[in-house]
């Protein structure tokens, strides 16, 4: 979902406005100061209430593994347990079926990285080709790309499952890496980038200087395209890493699962949500599940934290049409 939501702003002709607004903030601020303190207070209260809604669950996941299941129930939900318990929780989840969590982590990593590399290798040249070269069928391809980009990716999951069954590819890494590599949103992002930021004259000049078509792309366009490569890579990574439905239908042995499917497996095989039936025989209960969730979200979370400034700027003001 995240990748689709991010996209429309960059399409807007005047998407540069958020940066341009910087011209008038002092005027605006003075106006705000003149407003009553009560209005501003109310504003902050509403904002903080929604912030609580969005952020408290995230904080809770970080805190839960520091407590035992018993403490989860009887302590304040947002009270910190101990680092010692955190390590013990880790030991329990690590021990689950011979460190299967790390197997899932490794699977997630290789499927996602494979998918991202394939998506970049296809999408960036394709965006360039669609934006800066002419060929018969270009507009048709562009329209199809837009349609497939807007159609929810999960609409293709069951058809892909049926296809992979036919090809005897299900339960192999390729059954998810190939579909991950098909990333029309990345093609569209690259298309917008190349058609709006790289002047055709620049490419023409390179051709006059004797550059081949491939040379023009490789030595002129690609070095300038680093921002869009990063952006496509980010969105592909987030959508591949968090994808559940596709790997869920493709893999039928748990050693092949990526983390999101592993979480489902953990819930069903330990029934940690029903401690009455499971506490006696399974060391994997709610704190361990929260720990597994932490492992599952960590990479995307870190990328979100560190790339946020670039991302919001990219989403809002990145590539604008002249």
């Amino acid at each position: 979902m995240a990748h689709v939501t991010a996209q429309p702003t960059r399409r807007q002709p005047a998407a540069r406005a958020p940066l341009a607004v910087a011209a008038g903030p002092t005027r605006r601020r003075r106006r705000l100061l003149s407003r009553s303190v009560g209005v501003r207070l109310a504003w902050f209260i509403v904002m903080l209430a929604f912030t609580a809604f969005f952020i408290v669950p995230v904080i809770w996941v970080f805190i839960a593994p520091t407590k035992t299941d018993h403490q989860l129930i009887y302590w304040n939900p947002l009270a910190f347990g101990s680092f010692h318990t955190f390590l013990r929780t880790w030991d329990e989840i690590y021990a689950f079926q011979a460190h299967e969590l790390l197997v899932w982590l490794w699977n997630s990593a290789r499927y996602s990285v494979g998918g991202v590399l394939l998506a970049l290798g296809c999408a960036v040249p394709a965006g360039y080709g669609l934006a800066l070269t002419e060929f018969i069928g270009r507009r048709v391809l562009l329209s199809i790309t837009l349609i497939v980009m807007i159609m929810p990716a999960s609409a293709l999951v069951l058809p892909l499952f049926l296809e992979m069954n036919l090809l005897h590819l299900s339960n192999s890494a390729w059954s998810v890496v190939f579909p991950f590599g098909f990333f029309p949103f990345g093609v569209y992002l690259s298309y917008i980038f190349f058609s709006s930021t790289i002047p055709k004259e620049l490419l023409a000049a390179a051709r006059v200087d004797g550059c081949s078509e491939w040379g023009v792309f490789r030595h002129v366009a690609l070095p300038l395209a680093r921002p869009v490569v990063a952006l496509v890579g980010f969105f592909a990574f987030v959508s591949d890493w968090t994808n559940f439905f596709l790997p869920f239908v493709m893999f039928y042995t748990d050693r092949q699962y990526p983390l999101p499917v592993g979480l489902d497996y953990l819930i069903s095989s330990t029934s940690a949500f029903n401690p009455v039936t499971s506490a006696a025989n399974s060391p994997v209960v709610r704190p361990e599940l929260a720990m597994a969730t932490l492992v599952a979200i960590a990479p995307v979370f870190i990328v979100f934290l560190f790339a946020q400034r670039a991302l919001v700027t990219g989403m809002l003001a990145g590539a604008t049409k002249e």
Partner: protein, 318 residues
């Protein structure tokens, strides 16, 4: 440079050794899109075509040979009728309908309210709040469902005061069948709203200061400004959001699947149409039925996407 290259003739009149080059560039165009085109055909077009083929044939029937290939027997619309009559079919679409209604209303109202509040509020605090609203997007997919399974467990939830206000004292009570559409809408809002708030905020920032200032000079208060001036100017983004959220919402799968596991099967394994299709394929081994339902869903997604691409003026091609 201009559009001359699309027509071979004008290029030749340029008088350079251009004709060969332009032909080469033509071919280069294909080379650049080739790899993407292969993936588009193999993992976009082919699976759709195969699903349509399966949905109109029956595996049990006798195979028909058409020249070099043999195909399964034509079944007409019988798979569509048979799945339509399945006792789980209508409930699944009903569930989705209720879920979509709640989800779209909540999405539109709250995203617009928050985006307008952000836009009219204390400017320096905006990036901070916007980021915090966006952050749960990092937990998209099964992590978000798991987190909300915790949040809805009255034993351990930090929201237990809310849950106890509603008189829910155990997980089976919060996960009662009637609550599920609202719960899935809640989860979808939690992970997805932030991204849309960023988008709407960007759209609002595109409104020129002159428009807003002249409205103020005319005596508009904050409410009138938001409803009469700002909202109409970002209307197409709202339509865009609604269509995308609708298309994505019809595909619901991970939420009921995971909550079913977390609640020891309290949620039906065929709660949503996608689940039903998956269930028919894997439990009953009936790929034709599964294909029929996924074609139903594919058509809905395709219609939404086509509407947006060709009708909304959101995307100009070129």
């Amino acid at each position: 440079m201009s559009g001359t290259t699309s027509l071979p003739v004008p290029v030749r009149t340029q008088g350079r050794a251009g004709s060969g080059r332009a032909g080469g560039r033509h071919r280069a165009g294909y080379a650049f899109v080739a790899l993407y085109l292969v993936l588009l055909l193999l993992f976009g077009v082919l699976p759709s075509v195969y699903a349509v083929y399966l949905s109109f044939t029956k595996a049990a029937g006798k195979r028909v040979s058409l020249g070099p290939i043999t195909v399964a027997q034509w079944a007409g619309l019988s798979n569509f009728f048979a799945t339509g009559r399945d006792f789980r079919f209508l409930p699944a679409f009903e569930h989705i309908g209720v879920y979509l209604t709640i989800w779209l209303v909540v999405l539109v109202v709250l995203v617009l309210a928050l985006a307008l509040l952000l836009h009219g509020g204390v400017r320096r605090a905006v990036p901070f709040f916007r980021f915090l609203f966006y952050l749960p997007g990092a937990l998209a997919g099964s992590a978000s469902v798991l987190v909300w399974a915790f949040m809805l467990d009255p034993d351990i939830s930090p929201w237990h005061f809310v849950l106890s206000l509603l008189h829910y004292s155990s997980m089976p009570q919060t996960l009662a069948p009637g609550h599920l559409p609202a719960i899935f809408a809640l989860i979808a809002f939690w992970t997805g709203a932030g991204g849309w708030i960023v988008v709407m905020n960007g759209a609002l920032n595109n409104i020129s200061d002159e428009v807003i200032d002249s409205a103020k000079i005319d005596g508009a208060d904050a409410w009138q400004l938001a409803v009469r001036i700002k909202l109409p100017l970002i209307k197409r983004w709202v339509i865009f959001m609604v269509i995308l959220a609708f298309a994505a919402g019809t595909q619901l799968f991970v939420e009921p699947q995971l909550l079913s596991a977390a609640s020891l099967g309290m949620v039906s394994p065929s709660w949503s149409p996608n689940q039903l299709a998956y269930y028919l394929a894997t439990q009953n081994g009936n790929f034709n039925y599964a294909a029929a339902i996924s074609v139903d869903l594919l058509i809905v997604g395709l219609m939404a996407a086509t509407l947006l691409v060709f009708r909304s003026k959101m995307f100009q091609i070129d």
